[in-house]
Symmetry: C2
Subunit: 431 residues, 2 copies
């Protein structure tokens, strides 16, 4: 863990190690994934079956056998504690309500008498949601991807999840069903992404693939981008906590550790105007680390990519925060709304002392799929908008074309595109 | 040109050639561009200067000398016909008005007493707009990229345009100024994209790069994606005209040619329920081709990628249109609004007999940067939304955390993320 003063002469240099973590591109991975994609395009179902056998040790006579059946869904429901089902339902309901508010409508402007302009909003016809297998198989990921798609009005939601050895996480199946997923296939890796992007005899071709995954999945998404839409490519997760010294050190320490336990590349940073508060938080982190079941992961993350930074003013703190554009930003200050307008770059902003990041991870309502690694400068959280597309609507009446025809012809002329002008003038000539 | 019946047994096979045009990926181009990007990252200004000298035959002592000065802007205005300036102003004004309507606001929901949720909309701080040089240097491209950025509230708009031999198109300079571009640099190619993405001593680092360009520019944009945001990667342009036989063949022919004159890879397709109408349009295309200044380009495009398709019903026509998801779609039918709801995939929809695509290209208002090659299935036109990003806002009061704390802890438990749960329980324990 770094304990830094923001005005140290070598601050930027030291901090760079945290910012550039997980920055390898992996040309070999790309070649492996390219081969898998072309194999799936060429051989379809057979390729996916074979790769699933190889990577997930899962043998099946056909891809159809890998679809989760209605009975298996029922079994999953019977395996899950009713109170867990209730908690997942609450999450689905709240995430749904938030994403409803993001819905945009088709509009048509009628302010001109001879021209109407508008924008048609249409849900995607079919999307694929990737859910990682094994330990990182989280029901909350299913909810955060499937619910916005359902709210947007997507026609069919296909989920894929690798099930090494065949076992599927019942919480994930329950979450999928509660969120409106239509079909679930037990496939994963680059082969699942390729199957969704290009379609096979059994796996329907989709318009967009979203959801987290390992480096092979992320690379496959990048490579099929353009063939289908994708959500952002997420890097390692991070939290920045801004403190004016007004909170409780133990709470802030717990928040930092909730990020650190994710994985060893996660980064948890506190920046504060109060040095002694910073020291107390650092001590609390050490104390709490020993109590965690995921201590090894959290400790590695904290030691390598954790930091406590002391700044001399809140202005300096905010400037720093906007510069690194954190995925998760906690404003652990006495009056968080007073500084909200100054926050220009952040994935999600957690306001005040009673809003730990974990609240947003599960059921507050906003999406937990957020831009990482400084990309909050230009990327946004996953939203309902990611599951629709827009079409412009242009209507000219004869009067409208007459009114603007000359200007259209003139600009076409400037650009040397005579036929563009002619498509207008030919309509007006014999009038 | 293909004259096809949609029910021909080999229709799909024949049509495939049109759909897959311009589908090469170009691994060599990628290597060249990777080298340029790493050179610009390493040597900054010096690399950009050297590459500009090599590719644009433009020599300068420093990159600063390649910035267009206020005097040069004045000169450009004096070189352009006042009526052309008026036409460009009309376009800027109308495009601005349309894009204003796309603006989303920051919102905060107060429907719960103990939890507030919202979404903050923040303009990008700085964007770069690429404008191709030479023949394809279009003032309308400048308007369609810069105006949405300005309307969105972007802090600074940097335009780059290669000027082979040093000459800059005065219409482009005028359009830039009218659209709100802040600074213009006479650089282009992959080196300009790299300079914008990473910044050099002279070229400011931006958050997003938009605008059309050749294969080197498109590849560079793809490779810097993630470091900065980009707009879509545009493929060759296309138009689909849907006709019920109610229009004027000469008008439809002119519309098809306005697309064909763009470049040899452009594709112009008519689909109609009226075979004899289709034949008359095809004859008109032949007649009008001979009158065009860009006849060679238009003829090549029409011969290679033009088509007239006869279908037996409007349902069949619409099904086809949605399947190919055209960039530009003209509904040249007597009652276009009656079929609008059935159009699910299209970049821009031109309604009725008085709305040639060219109207939308310049000054109707909607953006002319549209998804090509079937990507309207999941991509949208360039919009104001492309120049902002969103941050989620989550506020829990003590009561809110108490109300939902147990469910958060429960879901964290399901996921094996104990520290997530602890960040909640530690706040509630001693209460």
């Amino acid at each position: 863990m770094l304990f830094l003063d923001i005005q140290d002469h070598d601050f930027d240099l030291k901090f760079e190690a945290i910012l550039s973590r997980g920055d390898e591109t992996g040309r070999e991975v790309e070649q492996v994934v390219l081969d898998i994609i072309s194999d799936v395009r060429r051989r379809g179902d057979a390729a996916v079956l074979e790769l699933t056998r190889r990577f997930d040790r899962l043998d099946a006579g056909s891809l159809a056998e890998l679809e989760v059946t209605a009975e298996e869904v029922e079994t999953a429901f019977s395996q899950v504690d009713p109170q867990d089902i209730a908690a997942l339902k609450l999450a689905v309901e709240r995430v749904g309500r938030f994403h409803e508010k993001q819905k945009q409508r088709t509009w048509l402007s009628t302010e001109e008498l001879d021209v109407m302009l508008g924008q048609k909003v249409t849900p995607l016809a079919r999307v694929g949601i990737y859910v990682p297998g094994g330990k990182a198989s989280y029901p909350s990921s299913v909810i955060m991807n499937a619910v916005p798609a359902r709210v947007a009005g997507v026609g069919e939601i296909i989920m894929v999840a690798p099930t090494p050895g065949g076992e599927i996480n019942p919480h994930v199946v329950v979450a999928a069903k509660l969120s409106g997923v239509d079909r679930i296939f037990r496939i994963g890796g680059a082969q699942a992404v390729a199957a969704l992007a290009y379609g096979t005899a059994t796996i329907p071709k989709v318009d967009k693939v979203t959801g987290p995954g390992n480096i092979y999945v992320a690379t496959a998404k990048k490579l099929v981008f353009g063939q289908v839409g994708i959500d952002m490519i997420a890097g390692p997760s991070e939290i920045l906590v801004i403190s004016d010294g007004s909170g409780t050190p133990a709470h802030i320490a717990a928040d930092l550790l909730s990020q650190a336990e994710h994985d060893e590349l996660a980064s948890s940073i506190l920046i504060t105007t109060d040095r002694s508060f910073g020291e107390r938080v650092a001590a609390e982190v050490e104390r709490q680390l020993g109590q965690l079941s995921r201590e090894t992961i959290a400790r590695t993350s904290w030691e390598k990519y954790g930091a406590v930074i002391v700044a001399s003013s809140l202005e300096e703190v905010i400037e720093f925060s906007n510069r690194i554009a954190p995925e998760h930003l906690e404003l652990a200050v006495s009056d968080p709304f007073a500084i909200l307008p100054q926050i220009t770059n952040a994935g999600a902003i957690f306001m005040g002392h009673w809003t730990p990041e974990a609240a947003g991870d599960y059921l507050a309502g906003p999406n937990h799929t957020l831009p990482t690694g400084g990309t909050a400068r230009f990327f946004s959280p996953l939203s309902t908008d990611d599951f629709v597309k827009k079409s412009s609507i242009v209507y000219f009446s004869e009067d409208g074309l007459k009114r603007m025809g000359n200007d259209i012809v003139r600009i076409a002329g400037l650009e040397g595109l005579e036929a563009h002008g002619k498509s207008v003038s030919i309509r007006l000539e014999n009038k």
